[in-house]
Every structure is written in C-alpha cells, then in structure tokens.
C-alpha cells in the first residue's frame, strides 16, 4: 500500500499518538506522519475529527478514524495477517480492553493529579494513588503475560500498546518528583516489561527520550500557566 494512503495526524510527545504508530509498525505498514504544530490545530485535523478536534487521527485512503485505541483495533482488523495485536480468545480480549480502559480512565488522570497537587502532602498522596494503580497492573501483567515478556505474551499486543504509551510520561513524572513509580520492590515485573517494551523494534523510534519529553513538559507547563492569547 502506498505510503500516502495511510496518514497519522499527531504530535511526537503524545502517548495517544504513539499508539497507532506502534500498531502500524507491528503490521509493517508504511505511513506518513503529519505533525500538528503545538498550540494550533490544522484544517486537516478540524475536518477529520470535527467532534473532538483531537489527535491522533488515522486517515486511511480518505477515511478518518479517531480515538487512539479504536484506531489500534481498526489497524488490527484491516491488516489482519499476523502478528495480531488483540488476543485471539474473547476472554483475553475482554481482559485487555478492561485494563486499557483502566489505564486511560484511572491511571492517566492519577498521573495528572501529581502535577496539579498543591504542596508536599498532596503530592505524596497523589503519588501513592499512582503507585497503587501500578501495583494492580503488576498483578494484571503476571496474569496476562503467561510467562512471556509482554502483556500480550511473547509478542507485544493491545494492552502493551495502551499502557506502554505512558511509560515516557511515567519516567518524566519520576524525574520531576524524584520518585520511583515503576519500582523494583513493588512492581518488578513492570520494570522489566517497560524496558522490553521501549526496546521493541515497533516502539523504539516512536517512544521519545525521557529528557526530550521532560523539556517539552516544561514548555507545556509554561504555556498552560500563561494567559490565553487574545
């Protein structure tokens, strides 16, 4: 398929944008990565995702697909030859979707709480919430991996992509708060998993370096603190 037939609209720092890119890499599908300029939304984005006006958007031919995990499922269904991204068994698929939903609806908001927490006590409490969530995921990892390196077993899969896309931001949070979130003592499985995930060929060129992401986080914080443009 010609490269221009598949486009991903996004931005390099976004964990959500990483997801379709990793999925396309797993399937060895060439795509054009169209980066949005920070602080503005392109005509193409507004036209392709009029409801949410958010990245990522996958444009396949002329059809836009929105919402990162929905895009990942779409990629798995369209390019249906191996390697598969979703597990083959319906129960394992439900388990993967359950934890992906948990990561988006509980874990990520709890990570954001650390940033907005005011004062030492509040920060400590917010950090504890994230750690507690990661301990649940450690348990899920033990069950889902079935002895393999990844949540998907021997191969990376849907839940690896969903959760793994946050590893960069987890590391930035660890750096800024001088704390270990993925910790040898409490989450030894996840520590190994995170390394294996980031080193995976489908991931390594798409996962930003922690330092680069940390710099971006500072830019983002400044932009949010600044008064809105007139």
């Amino acid at each position: 398929m010609a490269k221009s037939d598949v486009k991903v609209l996004g931005a390099w720092p976004s964990p959500f944008v990483m997801r379709p890119r990793i999925a396309l890499n797993i399937k060895s599908v060439d795509y054009e990565f169209l980066q949005e300029t920070f602080g503005s939304k392109s005509e193409l984005l507004l036209k392709s995702n009029p409801v949410h006006k958010k990245i990522p958007v996958l444009i396949h031919g002329d059809k836009p697909v929105c919402e990162s995990l929905i895009i990942v499922e779409y990629i798995d269904e369209v390019w249906s030859s191996a390697p598969s991204i979703l597990p083959s068994n319906p129960y394992d698929r439900a388990t993967a979707r359950f934890w992906a939903s948990y990561v988006d609806e509980k874990l990520f908001p709890s990570m954001k709480e650390i940033v907005s927490a005011d004062g030492e006590e509040a920060k400590k409490a917010a950090i504890q919430v994230v750690v507690d969530g990661l301990v649940l995921l450690e348990d899920a990892y033990a069950k889902c991996s079935k002895g393999g390196k990844f949540f998907g077993g021997e191969q990376i899969g849907y839940l690896d992509i969903a959760f793994g896309s946050y590893v960069g931001w987890l590391r930035v949070t660890e750096k800024f708060n001088q704390v270990k979130l993925l910790d040898e003592a409490k989450t030894p499985g996840l520590v190994k998993w995170a390394e294996a995930f980031c080193a995976h060929p489908a991931v390594k060129d798409v996962m930003p370096e922690t330092d680069k992401l940390a710099e971006f986080a500072k830019v983002l914080a400044k932009a949010r603190a600044a008064p809105p443009p007139k």
Binding site: V51, E73, E77, Y91, R93, A94, F98
Partner: protein, 219 residues
C-alpha cells in the same frame, strides 16, 4: 460443558440494562443477580475487585466488567445476530459513537438534571450541543445501527429511556420534539423494539427510585 452465564446488576441502572439487551439479542439464557449497592455482595467484590461496580458478567466462572467491554465480549462469543457491524471502518465508527456517548454525554446529561445553578446551566448547554451532534449522526436512519439496533443504540440507552424519565421528574425540557425530531423518532422505535421493551424498568418505579435517591431536582 453446560453454559453458565450470570449477570450482576441493578434494576435501575442503564449500564446493567445495556448488557441485558445484548444478552436478549443473542438469546443467551442467564441468571440475574440483583445487587444492593449500599451493601455489595462478596461475590461482586470478588468478581470486580478493581472497581467494585456493576454490571459484571460471569461466563463459566470467568468475570468480565465494564458494560461496553462486556457487550463486545458477548458479540464475539455468541456470533449470531451481530451487535457490531462487519466492516472494520463501520466497527470503528460504532465504537467511536459508543465512546462519545459514554465519555461526553452521560455525565453532562446527568448534571443537566441534578446539578444546580451555573453548573446546571453550563451542563444543559453542553448537553444540547452533544444531542445535536447525535441528531446529525442519526440522520434519517431508523437506528444508529441502521435497520437494526447495534452497539451505539445499546450504548445510548440513557438517552433512549432514562432521559425521558428524568425530564418528567424534573420538568427539564432538553430533548424535545421540536429541537430533536430525529432523536425523538428514534426513541419511539427504540422503546418499542422487542429486545429492548422487556428490558426497561417500569417508568413510574424508576422515577420514584430516582426521586428518593437523588432528592428533588430543580424545576
């Protein structure tokens, strides 16, 4: 092995009813266990330790939680009378709109009814916008799923039934025929659909229960 399907739910919960509709569409026999949310059963806590919420489907001893995850599981396990479309692009669209309803519509609709003052005004405005979006998406189709109900119709159960009950209770006129003729026509088809009408709680009991639980809503 005999198939064993159990559903832990709450009679007044739209999320619990979503799963029942899906099971009814597939003709799957199941045991229904009514939970008391003020006194959750040991089984519920065992089957959904992460969220401790209903609905939970237990299939041959294996629990699945989160209503939309459960519905996809049901669709993949019992393949006749499909709930999701066949084509990947249509499936992506169905999932998109189901997610839109869950993430954008439900909280804001709830706040339109139950919150007060400026918060309520803002919720009503946002809810109107989202209902307009759904009105456009529905267009002239009989159901969001086309000729037959699908994932999005099941996901929209709050709009299909609960919202009407809440509007009666509170006097809120958000989803009206003059503003949303297509959605109102859809509601009429929806509540009369065979897989749905037997799965809805009695309206008067629902209104009574909501009044008792959430107090008087501002008129």
């Amino acid at each position: 092995m005999a198939e064993e399907v159990k559903l832990f739910g709450v009679w007044a919960s739209p999320l619990s009813r979503r799963v029942e509709i899906a099971l009814k569409m597939k003709g799957v026999k199941y045991e229904y266990i009514e939970e008391d949310l003020s006194n959750k059963s040991q089984l519920l806590l065992k089957y959904n330790p992460v969220h401790k919420k209903i609905p939970v489907l237990v299939h041959n001893g294996k629990p699945i939680a989160e209503s939309l995850v459960i519905i996809e599981y049901i669709d993949e396990t019992w393949k006749h009378n499909p709930i999701l479309p066949q084509h990947p692009y249509d499936r992506a669209l169905a999932r998109f709109w189901a997610k839109f309803i869950d993430e954008k519509c439900l909280t804001v609709l709830w706040n339109s009814i139950w919150s007060k003052g400026k918060e309520r005004e803002a919720a009503i405005e946002e809810a109107s916008e989202h209902l307009k979006t759904l009105e456009n998406e529905l267009g002239d189709k009989k159901f969001f799923g086309g000729e037959e109900i699908g994932l999005v119709d099941i996901a929209a159960i709050f709009i299909g039934f609960w919202l009407g009950a809440c509007q009666e209770l509170s006097g809120l006129e958000l989803l009206t025929e003059d503003k949303f003729p297509k959605l109102c026509k859809w509601i009429h088809e929806y509540v009369n659909h065979t897989a749905i009408k037997e799965n809805l709680p009695p309206k008067d009991k629902l209104i009574e229960a909501m009044s008792a639980r959430f107090g008087a809503a501002s008129k």
